[in-house]
């Protein structure tokens, strides 16, 4: 029998479950299933390489789970030259690389860090993955002193780590809000992803929608005639609900307004109800508008790949406004679409605006949207808030009495364009019951749905759920305290990703778009008596459920 060197009592006290610790820089990368999104299909990359030379590369069958990623042999030069080119092109990138003093203000602000506890999800450390290479390659001190200055040689493992962590950033910019230097971490992520693309490192959830949008105008690659069938199908549903057959102009010339929204809302549940809401609103006010199949995806996944790709997809909005002769653009509920519009559109594509375009004026209220003078594009929440403010909508709030609502500020409209009060104003005017979540989780400080920037794919559900914990936790709080049963939002990705988030962290809370609730309360001229909501659920049953 083996002899124990410890007394029994010491043995009893010696249990140790402390995990082994390693320095963060040398923690090995783990590419087990569920830790990465699937790479792009080669044909999508081949297609995009033809459409936009220089942005994408190396189409092939590969998997991040394999040891060999089939990188181009000169990948180090590609990354180095690509980095150099971008440092020269974007002064902001150089500033962001140099100016960080590692004060740590951002460290605990990222939803992925808060939920996962992985230090590499601290924005400062995520950016450090790139800065360490920058120091080695582009600063004198780094070149000479190497690791002493926190510089790192670009090796394959470093590149792989970029892929892991720059695809665990939703570009939500919550960390930027707290940075004393205003470093825009989303732009660091964008640059890292651009460099990865140059080596053919990418994810399909982003690349396929980008290819589809470029080809047919919507993210699923649906052809125009099928798009029209689906639209008619929604009109059937609206007729079943309201007893009224309304019209939805598609690809028609000579209307004042072109309406552009994410195509996800045409195909996906529950986005379709928000889309139906828009159509009903436009009918109620008699808006002179058209939809377009060519510019049917406002949500620009190009933003998540490469600045030129973003520019190309965004240009469709003006191209189609010009072709159809629209004076201005009304934009639907979307997140990153508004980041692109508000921050990049005018600079990138403003010159494409046709002479027929002018500063948007609401044809119903006469309000001049001076804030949209540059882009000629108005957010639907502003537009509807203005209609309500002027008493132009006939609303029956009581239809939404079964709804106990809260509002999730979608990151990009909130932090990217300051759209904070308009959606709340609309919501309070169409619902009798509304409660905000705690103040450090909403408005500018809103917590991301954890599916933004092209990460709303199911194969990384665990990553999304842990990243969604801060939002889910705040939601659970108002659910317990006020009986909140519905979370409204103004983003198509939210409408998809918040469903599992709520099911997991605050079961019983439903997700809805703002204009689904608007249309639910909206009385259309000539409609019949409504007995059901836009989801064709009977009010009677919903109210009875709520009373229980």
């Amino acid at each position: 029998m083996a002899k124990f060197s410890k007394k029994p009592i010491e043995l009893l006290q010696s249990i140790d479950y402390t995990p082994p610790r390693t320095d963060w820089m040398s923690t090995p990368n783990d590419f087990s299933d569920g830790r990465y999104a699937y790479p792009a299909k080669p044909e999508k990359i081949e297609y995009l390489m033809k459409e936009l030379p220089g942005a994408f590369a190396n189409p092939r069958e590969w998997s991040p789970g394999d040891v060999d990623w089939k990188l181009p042999p000169n990948w180090k030069d590609i990354v180095h030259e690509g980095f150099k080119e971008r440092l020269n092109k974007y002064r902001s990138l150089k500033v962001f690389m140099d100016v960080c003093v590692r004060c740590g203000a951002c460290a605990d602000k990222c939803h992925f860090f808060i939920g996962s506890g992985d230090p590499k999800n601290m924005p400062v450390l995520r950016a450090e993955l790139m800065r360490s290479v920058y120091r080695k390659d582009f600063t004198l001190a780094g070149k000479i002193l190497g690791k002493l200055t926190g510089a790192r040689v670009m090796e394959e493992d470093v590149l792989k780590e970029w892929f892991l962590y720059f695809y665990q950033c939703t570009e939500c910019r919550r960390c930027s809000l707290f940075c004393p230097y205003g470093i825009d971490t989303a732009e660091i992520t964008m640059m890292a992803r651009e460099l990865l693309h140059l080596c053919g490192i990418n994810i399909n959830w982003i690349m396929e929608p980008v290819a589809n949008c470029n080809r047919t105008g919507n993210h699923l690659g649906i052809q125009p005639h099928a798009f029209k069938d689906i639209l008619d199908f929604m009109l059937d549903d609206i007729e079943a609900i309201t007893g009224k057959r309304i019209n939805a102009p598609l690809n028609e010339k000579g209307h004042e307004v072109i309406f552009i929204t994410p195509s996800g809302d045409v195909f996906a549940d529950p986005g379709i109800y928000t889309f139906m809401g828009y159509l009903m609103l436009f009918d109620a006010i008699g808006l002179d508008y058209t939809l377009s199949t060519y510019a049917s995806e406002g949500g620009n996944f190009g933003l998540f790949t490469n600045a030129d790709m973003m520019k190309k997809l965004n240009a469709k909005m003006y191209a189609e406004a010009n072709r159809l002769g629209a004076k201005w653009i009304l934009g639907g509920e979307c997140g990153h679409m508004w980041r692109v519009i508000n921050q990049y559109m005018d600079t990138m594509n403003g010159y494409l605006q046709g002479p027929q375009m002018s500063t948007p004026v609401s044809p119903i209220t006469g309000t001049v949207f001076g804030n949209a003078k540059q882009t000629k594009m108005v957010h639907i929440a502003e537009f509807t808030a203005d209609l309500i403010k002027h008493g132009k909508l006939n609303l029956d709030k009581s239809r939404n009495d079964y709804v106990k609502a809260t509002f999730h500020d979608s990151c990009n409209p909130a932090r990217g364009m300051g759209l904070l009060d308009e959606p709340r104003y609309v919501l309070k005017n169409v619902c009798n019951h509304f409660w905000d979540m705690p103040e450090n989780t909403i408005r500018e400080q809103t917590f991301c749905c954890a599916g933004g920037s092209g990460l709303n794919t199911d194969e990384i559900m665990e990553i999304r759920l842990r990243g969604g914990l801060p939002r889910g936790n705040a939601l659970k709080y108002v659910q317990d305290k006020h009986g909140v049963n519905t979370m409204a939002c103004v983003c198509a990705i939210d409408r998809a990703t918040l469903i599992p988030l709520a099911d997991y962290w605050a079961p019983g809370v439903r997700i809805t778009g703002l204009h689904e609730l608007v249309a639910n309360a909206l009385i259309l001229p000539g409609e019949g008596e409504r007995t059901m909501n836009l989801r064709q659920e009977e009010f009677e049953e919903l109210n009875a459920q709520e009373e229980e």
Partner: protein, 186 residues
């Protein structure tokens, strides 16, 4: 969990209850220890439940679970208390064994605090007897963990279905097969 008063009332209960707070605090500390060092610092220092949901869940769940363990009269309530933490660890980057290791860390905390003292008094068996509750709790935690994981897989499937809901409805309608539409609702 129908038990007699004698079974519920461990001889140790009073002693543990009197030192519940330091015990819970030590357990909390040990659970924090399962996360990287940089993270522990942040989570230990921020007491806001909205900006530090994991840290606060660890703190609160450890206390609730300990109370339930001492009372040992309501399995449902114990599971609910466990769920708070297990649900989080079920989607964090842990192997299942590591995710649930926190349960056994309570044994470590208990032994650190009481083993020496009880050994000296010849009452070590009482501690070992009490620890069977922790073993049982580990089994309950496994149920909660598995249910959380099952939900994750179910949500993945549902999400894929929702993304094309309208196209499937349209396809069914176009082909005029009403039973297909009914099947789609199921």
């Amino acid at each position: 969990m129908a038990r007699t008063e004698d079974q519920r009332r461990s001889p140790l209960s009073d002693l543990l209850a009197s030192r519940r707070e330091p015990l819970a605090e030590r357990w909390t500390e040990l659970i924090f220890g399962t996360y990287p060092e940089e993270t522990q610092k942040v989570w230990a220092s921020n007491r806001d439940r909205f900006t530090n949901p994991v840290g606060e869940a660890v703190r609160q769940a450890s206390r609730e679970v300990l109370d339930r363990l001492l009372a040992w009269d309501d399995a449902e309530a114990l599971c609910r208390a466990l769920e708070r933490l297990v649900k989080i660890r079920a989607v964090q980057d842990f192997a299942p064994s590591v995710a649930l290791s926190f349960v056994f860390l309570l044994k470590k905390a208990l032994r650190e605090a009481f083993a020496g003292e009880l050994d000296a008094e010849g009452r070590l068996a009482e501690l070992l007897a009490f620890e069977t509750r922790i073993d049982n709790m580990a089994l309950l935690a496994f149920d909660v963990y598995f249910e959380s994981r099952r939900q994750v897989f179910e949500m993945r499937v549902k999400e894929v279905k929702r993304a094309h809901a309208n196209i499937v409805r349209l396809a069914n309608k176009t082909h005029g097969d009403s039973s297909a539409e009914e099947a789609g609702k199921a």
